[in-house]
């Protein structure tokens, strides 16, 4: 029954003083209302006669708005009056065009689209939970509602990472072109790999004249160099417990994903092969960079549903996977946190094996709060204690960094908002120094 039945009873109660026998009046009116309710319920469209399916966007970038349409069909011979609630998880930010308290009318045999606008607040897969239809009778005194009728059409909206750091991409690509030698701004292209021989033009570095080739030809030929291409890059994302904590405004894993995407975009443009591995106690995602043109979209889709797990990361597994997959020397970029416990007991024992074959770069982000604690001028006694604690935390991290450095590992430790450009800069520096 609905509020109308209650209202009917309450309004009927006001006529009681006029009844010769008020208690009989109560019985009569209650019975009448119950009868009406029963009849109304029987006249309502049964939920089993409804169909539901969905259509609409499958992916949306974090911050954007997607539209998913629920199509509700009425296969019965009666007009459907219904309240419909299309429930999504709260972080999907669902706003139905027709709010659940409004009554929808569907003629017999018709189908109505019910669009829902979704503005997700978190990255990842956002599923639709349940469709509930409350089929009201013609008097709207009673309703029929059954869970699971009509069956909820499954739908998952994949929320892609925002990739904020793509604003750094043009600048990094410009620097890459400088290194590549295709754009001469600060000198000729540097590199270690022989590219072609071409005729000398005035302005070329005389040191790059290839005298042997010039002797064979009538012209003076210069060698051109380019940076190595077809190098291998492996991004490894640690999705264990240290990635679950909040850095700034989002989990540390999101910072790492952002940096990994920038690095991948840059490396793909530089002609390097990029693989990706995400693991904690099991491999959560693995992408091999064979199909180069669609690499970035594939990578984004692989990274989007990653969620940090509250487990200790198994670096033994990660090292084994890298050694198994990468037979050639690669640059392994490990996105993790500089936690003395997690890295000291997990990574350090397997690091020698890894560093023997690959060049390892450990990229870690730290909370900007820590920087604020240590750099601000102390104004109150609490600030002095906070500075001491902050410096101590930084000193612990420095010890981890020193331990990693002993194995020839490059360590990037940056505040969360600066991690992606810093990692990209390091990659460009290593590339220009031909250390890949």
């Amino acid at each position: 029954m609905t509020w109308r039945a209650a209202l009917l009873l309450a309004v009927g109660a006001s006529t009681l003083p006029l009844w010769p026998s008020p208690f009989v009046g109560v019985l009569v009116m209650t019975g009448a209302v119950l009868l009406l309710v029963l009849v109304d319920r029987l006249l309502a469209v049964p939920p089993a006669a409804l169909t539901a399916d969905r259509d609409g966007d499958r992916t949306v970038r974090l911050g954007g708005t997607a539209t998913v349409v629920l199509r509700l069909g009425n296969t019965s011979g009666r007009t459907l009056r219904a309240q419909v609630r299309d429930a999504w998880v709260p972080s999907a930010g669902a706003r139905p065009d027709l709010p659940p308290d409004r009554v929808l009318t569907v003629p017999p045999g018709d189908t109505v689209p019910l669009p829902t606008r979704l503005t997700p607040t978190r990255r990842g897969d956002r599923p639709a939970v349940a469709v509930t239809v409350r089929s009201l009778g013609p008097l709207r005194l009673a309703f029929r509602q059954r869970s699971g009728r009509p069956a909820t059409p499954p739908w998952t909206l994949r929320v892609l990472p925002r990739f904020d750091s793509r604003r750094h991409l043009p600048e990094k690509l410009a620097r890459l072109r400088v290194i590549d030698g295709t754009q001469v701004t600060r000198g000729r292209g540097q590199g270690t790999e022989f590219d072609t021989l071409r005729e000398y033009v005035v302005g070329d570095d005389v040191r790059s004249i290839d005298w042997r080739a010039s002797a064979r030809r009538a012209d003076v030929l210069v060698r051109t160099w380019r940076p190595e291409r077809d190098r291998r890059l492996v991004c490894v994302l640690d999705t264990g417990r240290t990635s679950a904590v909040r850095v700034g405004d989002e989990p540390r894993l999101d910072t790492a994903i952002d940096a990994a995407l920038l690095l991948t975009a840059l490396a793909a443009r530089a002609g390097d092969r990029v693989d990706l591995l995400a693991a904690d106690t099991a491999v959560r995602a693995a992408v091999t960079g064979s199909g180069r043109p669609a690499l970035l979209p594939r990578l984004v889709h692989a990274l989007a549903p990653l969620e940090p797990a509250l487990v200790e990361t198994d670096f033994e597994l990660i090292a084994g996977e890298i050694l198994r997959r990468q037979r050639h020397r690669s640059l392994v970029v490990l996105f993790t946190a500089l936690e003395p416990g997690a890295l000291g007991e997990g990574l350090l024992p397997v690091l020698p094996r890894l560093a023997a074959r690959h060049r390892v770069l450990v990229a870690a982000s730290h909370d900007p709060v820590l920087a604020a604690m240590t750099t601000g001028a102390p104004a109150r006694p609490e600030d002095a204690y906070a500075a001491a604690a902050g410096w101590r935390a930084l000193a612990e991290r420095d010890r981890v960094r020193a331990a990693l450095t002993r194995y020839g590992v490059t360590v990037v430790d940056a505040p969360a908002d600066a991690l992606a450009p810093t990692v990209a800069d390091t990659y460009l520096r290593l590339k220009s120094q031909a250390q890949l």
């Binding site: 208690f23 429930a87 669902a94 469709v131 969620e307 102390p378 006694p381 604690a389 935390a393 600066a418």
Partner: protein, 478 residues
């Protein structure tokens, strides 16, 4: 339902969630103790009110009632003393009995009497003692006693016979040393000669036939007569003459019969007292109170359980106070509420569950350690940490090895900043701070020093506070 469909911004919600439990706990800290105390006080008050016998209860201070609130033990003690106990359940009969010779008229529940009966009590013959238990102000005025009720205690207290240091003038109460008699206290009106005993809880008004007013019923009740000298007090009060006329009323005194059927010597007043509480309303209730004089059953005024004339309790007068449609209206509105509750009880689909991200900040351990330092007053370790990390930053900037003696470091820093080497050495290698203020000064000075050195460093333009990176390391860009 609404909570599941409406998506709050999870970050703001996360911050709220972090604050909310603490606020709730703080709220609990206030509410729980006060709530427990309030519940205890309420329970005590309610239990005391329920436990205290009411003069209107059947069997209250009756010589034949053996329950806790009866007075059978007192009647027994009086009989052992050789006193005749004459139980009367009708006021007219009791008054007749009291007039027939020297006697004590004992009225345990005087508030049940009607005003004209009270007026007749004032005109008892000489040699008759009237004993009233805890009379109300109406009774005092009705009998014409020059007494005023003053403060009333919440519970009865056992006191000695003195009042304001003066001994009790009543000779029959001489053996009583301590009795539970002080509950309602009395003062005489004006200069009337009144003997006060037991801290003014018992008053005697001398006259032709004296009148005794006892402010507490405890000395007479079965459950407390055995305590202290309660029995001696009760017997002493009542055994002044050889005969006690015990007016044992079952309920409020019935109105006088109609003038036609008036008993002899009863100057009935046709208007009677106002207030229809005892007037049987034939239309509304139709019941007959047990113990009505019309029954003509003087001995059955206090019938044992189950042997009442019709065995039916009188219906609640509240039923008759409103018309029947009012109750029907209430019933129907309650039904409407029930329907509304059924409507609201069925939700439109289950709530949507979702695993939430971790809300712990990565700097949480450092912040927690800072609070721990502060709570423990760890100024020494905090100061040493600050000095050590400042040195670790300064030495690479000054191109000095890590094991440089302190004077050389101080000289190098002084050369860079232009300060006094001794002061700088004291700052970098001095004693641990003793107070929070000293620690704050130390932190400020170290901060200023490292800023100055960093600013004057010609080759390394790193901002102050950044950790010195080991050589092959990137990062720290701010």
């Amino acid at each position: 339902m609404t909570a599941a469909t409406h998506t709050a911004a999870p970050r703001a919600a996360a911050a709220d969630r972090a604050r909310a439990p603490r606020r709730r706990r703080r709220w609990h800290r206030i509410v729980i103790p006060f709530g427990v105390v309030a519940a205890l006080v309420t329970t005590t008050l309610v239990a005391q009110a329920l436990d205290r016998p009411d003069p209107g209860d059947p069997g209250y201070l009756s010589p034949v009632e053996t329950d806790d609130h009866g007075a059978s033990r007192l009647a027994e003690a009086l009989r052992r003393r050789g006193v005749t106990v004459q139980r009367e359940t009708d006021t007219a009969a009791a008054l007749r009995a009291a007039r027939s010779g020297p006697a004590t008229l004992f009225v345990p529940a005087p508030q049940l009497l009607r005003p004209h009966t009270l007026a007749r009590l004032a005109h008892l013959p000489g040699g008759t003692r009237l004993v009233l238990v805890d009379p109300s102000r109406r009774v005092l005025v009705g009998v014409g006693l020059p007494l005023t009720r003053t403060d009333r205690r919440w519970a009865t207290r056992a006191v000695g016979p003195e009042t304001a240091g003066r001994p009790c003038p009543l000779a029959e109460l001489a053996p009583v040393r301590r009795a539970a008699a002080e509950r309602q206290r009395y003062t005489p009106d004006g200069t009337a000669p009144v003997d006060l005993c037991f801290a003014a809880g018992l008053a005697r008004l001398p006259g032709a036939g004296d009148t005794l007013v006892v402010g507490a019923d405890d000395p007479f009740r079965n459950d407390r007569i055995g305590e202290r000298d309660n029995q001696a007090l009760a017997v002493g009060v009542l055994a002044a003459h050889g005969r006690v006329v015990w007016l044992d009323l079952a309920g409020p005194e019935p109105p006088p019969p109609s003038p036609s059927g008036a008993p002899p010597t009863w100057p009935s007043r046709p208007d009677g007292p106002p207030g229809g509480t005892t007037t049987p309303d034939p239309g509304a209730t139709g019941g007959v109170r047990p113990g009505t004089p019309g029954d003509g059953d003087p001995g059955g005024g206090r019938p044992p359980q189950g042997s009442a004339d019709d065995g039916e309790r009188p219906p609640n007068p509240l039923w008759g106070a409103f018309p029947p449609w009012f109750w029907a209206l209430l019933v129907q509105l309650a039904l409407a509420l029930l329907v509304a509750a059924l409507w609201r009880a069925r939700r439109l689909g289950p709530p949507a569950p979702e695993p939430l991200p971790v809300t712990v900040r990565s700097a949480e351990t450092a912040l927690g350690r800072a609070r721990l330092y502060q709570r423990a007053g760890a100024r020494g370790p905090a100061g040493r940490t600050l000095r050590a990390t400042t040195l670790a930053r300064l030495l690479p900037w000054l191109n000095l090895p890590a094991d440089t003696p302190s004077e050389r470091v101080a000289r190098a820093v002084a050369a860079r900043t232009g300060g006094d080497p001794e002061q700088i050495e004291d700052l970098l290698y001095g004693d641990d701070p003793d107070t929070d203020q000293e620690l704050l000064d130390l932190a400020r000075s170290l901060d200023a020093l490292s800023r100055t050195v960093a600013a004057s460093a010609p080759t390394q333009g790193r901002p102050a506070g950044a950790p010195p990176p080991p050589d092959p390391t990137e990062g720290g860009t701010r």
